[in-house]
Amino acid sequence: MLYRETGQFKQSYASDQAIFPILQDRIGLAIILAVAFVAIPLLGNEFVLASLMIPFLILSLGAIGLNLLTGYTGLLSLGTGAFMGVGAYAAYKLSTLFPGINILVWIVCSGFVAAGIGILVGLPSLRIKGFYLAVATLAAQFFLQWCFVRISWLYNDNPSGAIEVPARTLFGIAITGPSATPVTRYYVVLVIVAVMTLIASNIVHGRIGRTWMAVRDMDIAAQLMGIRLLRSKLLAFAVSSFYCGVSGALMVFLWLGAAEPSAFEINLSFLMLFMVIIGGLGSLIGSFMGTALIHILPILIRSLPEALGLPLAAATVEHLTFMIVGALIIFFLIVEPHGLARLWQIGKQKLRVWPFPY
């Protein structure tokens, strides 16, 4: 009843091709943005901002990156963690080599470095697919991780072997380093993630996205239709790695504050892949939902016993969290193998015909 496009006439091609053609969707998006930009910073405490929202947004960005590659183009990648690492190390190197230039510039530039590496790794994708490609990206993961440990130039010969984040400002306000408040960091991350999500949405709805989906669904058919496979696959790798790289740079500079090479190990790649699969392959909102399930839910479950006053040992809570989250993942995958995004879509469809389903 509420969610129905009846009576919303489209009088131009532009309005017909809009990303959100239905008025209610636009209102919904406006509410989400208002909550993100106004309500959360106002209502949330430091813990909510620093431990829930900032990591959630940063990981979502990485999940979007992987989704562009795996979900939209159908190229399975196990190197997400390493691509994020490339972004982080590139941002670290660039910002320490040229400290005069604003850190945000370097965070965006680090995405281009990651994109370059992504193209190199993507080269074999023309000849190999599926599991074979996954193995090739796995090799990239191990190789890049080895570089992070072994090439001391990457971490400026720090004896600790870690990259540390120098304090940097924007318009005189500290945005990285210890004195940056969670609220400032949250806004910086939010703006970057919102803008990049919008760009991603435009890419996947446009010619490039359609090309990718054609390649995903059947690459020979796509080739026969005149799509140049090498170009579109490499573009997918480049754009995907760009997103992952920026996400990795944000992770170190605005979330962790310092990172050892182990922060970018294979576990991170798997985690990102879980987020994308549980959220829904080939869906941007799914990337956010998957990240919420993998990152936010365990923290909520962990804080539940304390909030309820249950005297449980920290380790017990941790074990319970593992079990509950694991069970929920299986539950969601059984209920809807195509991920949370598909559930969301079904929900919207049902709402549309409610109260007279057919």
Binding site: S51, S160, E164, A258, A259, I296, A307, A315, E318, L351
Partner: protein, 441 residues
């Protein structure tokens, strides 16, 4: 399907409200969070450490009613040895005004180093973390007693020299193998090895073990068999230690010439079976439960069912290490109470308490730990102390003390520390100048 939407809405709502319902702390208590890892790949080492730390502080609450009459609130936060979860723990305890944090992971320590001065929460990273943070003038909020990894390495070298029957000159012409975790922790001694091997004339053979291959060291030990080093030095953690002992036994390496830094536990050595006898590690405190304090822990905490530790675990190496860590915490709080005159101390007070920390023989006896360890004294400039450690040897069922206390080669370590601390401050420019005044003693 609207039920699902409701679920999402409910989840979103809880997401905003839940963590803000954190219980406010009572005004007349001291909040001491413990970052522990009883889960995850390193739980084998993390559990006894967590038990030791928890039980000592619980004992103080049960037996003495806290420190100086003020109850301690001991709160465990599970990190799983994961940096991200560790930071989450830090954020979750921060609003409760902790008097100090013990990250128990180098990965968690590093991001906390710049934060400590801003949040006014001292960090006690006991013999791990950033070695350079021993310098109090540059890192006023970070403490890493009783020794750094560099100290440990020179102590092992001195022990080897004494086995050869003399001074460090005896190392000349010897072949010393170094098997280590190929991560920041194991790589830290590399610059020291490079300079010392030239200076003292020994040949160093390096066997890095990548973190992903901790349990598979056959290729490294194949090289060991080929190179036949006179001594082997081990810098490992978790599964790396037990795998190294097993491989050394398999390659028939003489165990009494295999010396590790202070992290292997009883279980690591036991895995090697009978032939692991003679395996040596550094340590700075006694093993065993034969101390009045540990008897009290048995009586007031373990027997009373207030501990998660099994009775026979009390007194093991890593359990006692947890006890030692908590002794530092408690004594720092006590010193802070004395220095500032406040009963309910804050992070700033405890920072001063740590700088004035002076646990002498008499105090150790008072605590009930006479002969447990050497006296600890920290100063404004020296946040580490570079204290002596001894070598203990595995006899098949327990570790036995196998040497006297060995002092580190301070003249070799100090220049490295200084250069390193300076480099850290430069790379992290603008690094804040120390503004905290030193207490006159």
């Amino acid at each position: 399907m609207s039920l699902k939407n409701w679920l999402f809405a409910a989840a979103a709502a809880t997401c905003l409200t839940l963590p803000s319902v954190q219980a406010a702390q009572a005004e007349d208590s001291i909040y001491v969070p413990l970052f522990t890892y009883r889960t995850g790949p390193f739980a084998g080492s993390g559990t006894p450490i967590a038990d030791g730390m928890h039980d000592y502080l619980t004992l103080l609450n049960e037996r003495d009613g806290g420190i100086g009459g003020v109850k301690l609130i001991v709160d465990e936060c599970e990190t799983g040895y994961d940096t991200k979860k560790g930071l989450e723990c830090y954020e979750s305890v921060k609003p409760k005004h902790p008097v100090m944090v013990n990250p128990w992971s180098t990965g968690i320590t590093l991001p906390l180093i710049p934060k400590a001065a801003v949040d006014k929460i001292p960090v006690l990273s006991m013999a791990y973390g950033l070695s350079a943070s021993a310098r109090g003038d540059i890192f006023p909020w970070i403490f890493n007693p009783p020794a750094t990894y560099w100290d440990g390495f020179t102590q092992i070298l001195k022990y080897i020299a004494s086995q050869e029957g003399g001074d460090v000159e005896k190392l000349k012409g010897k072949k010393i193998g170094y098997i280590y975790l190929d991560a920041s922790f194991g790589r830290e001694p590399l610059p020291l090895i490079e300079s010392l091997s030239k200076e003292l004339g020994f040949e160093a053979k390096l066997y890095p073990v990548p973190a992903a291959d901790m349990q598979n060291q056959s290729s490294q030990w194949l090289s060991v068999r080929r190179d036949r080093p006179d001594y082997m030095i081990l810098y490992g953690w978790g599964a790396l230690n037990s795998a190294a002992v097993k491989e050394a036994v398999k390659t028939n390496y003489p165990m009494d010439k295999f010396i590790s830094i202070w992290w292997p536990s009883e279980d690591d050595a036991r895995g090697g079976g009978d032939k692991a006898k003679g395996f040596k590690t550094l340590n700075w405190h006694a093993v065993g439960a034969d101390f009045p304090l540990l008897a009290d822990i048995q009586k007031y905490v373990v027997d009373a069912g207030k501990s998660q530790a099994a009775k026979d675990k009390v007194g093991q190496v890593l359990y006692n290490r947890g006890v030692y860590n908590s002794m530092l915490i408690a004594e720092a709080i006590r010193t802070a109470q004395q220095v500032t005159g406040n009963k309910v101390v804050t992070g700033e007070d405890v920072r001063r308490g740590l700088e004035n920390l002076n646990i002498d023989e008499a105090r150790l006896k008072e605590i009930g730990l006479e002969g447990f360890t050497q006296p600890v004294k920290l100063t404004c400039a020296d946040h580490n102390g570079h204290f002596a450690t001894f070598v203990q040897s595995w006899n098949g069922s327990a570790y036995e003390k196998a040497s006297d206390y060995i002092t580190p080669m301070n003249d070799k370590v100090e220049p490295l520390l200084e250069a390193d601390a300076k480099a850290y401050a430069e790379k992290n420019a603008p690094w804040p100048e120390r503004t905290e005044a030193c207490d006159a003693k």
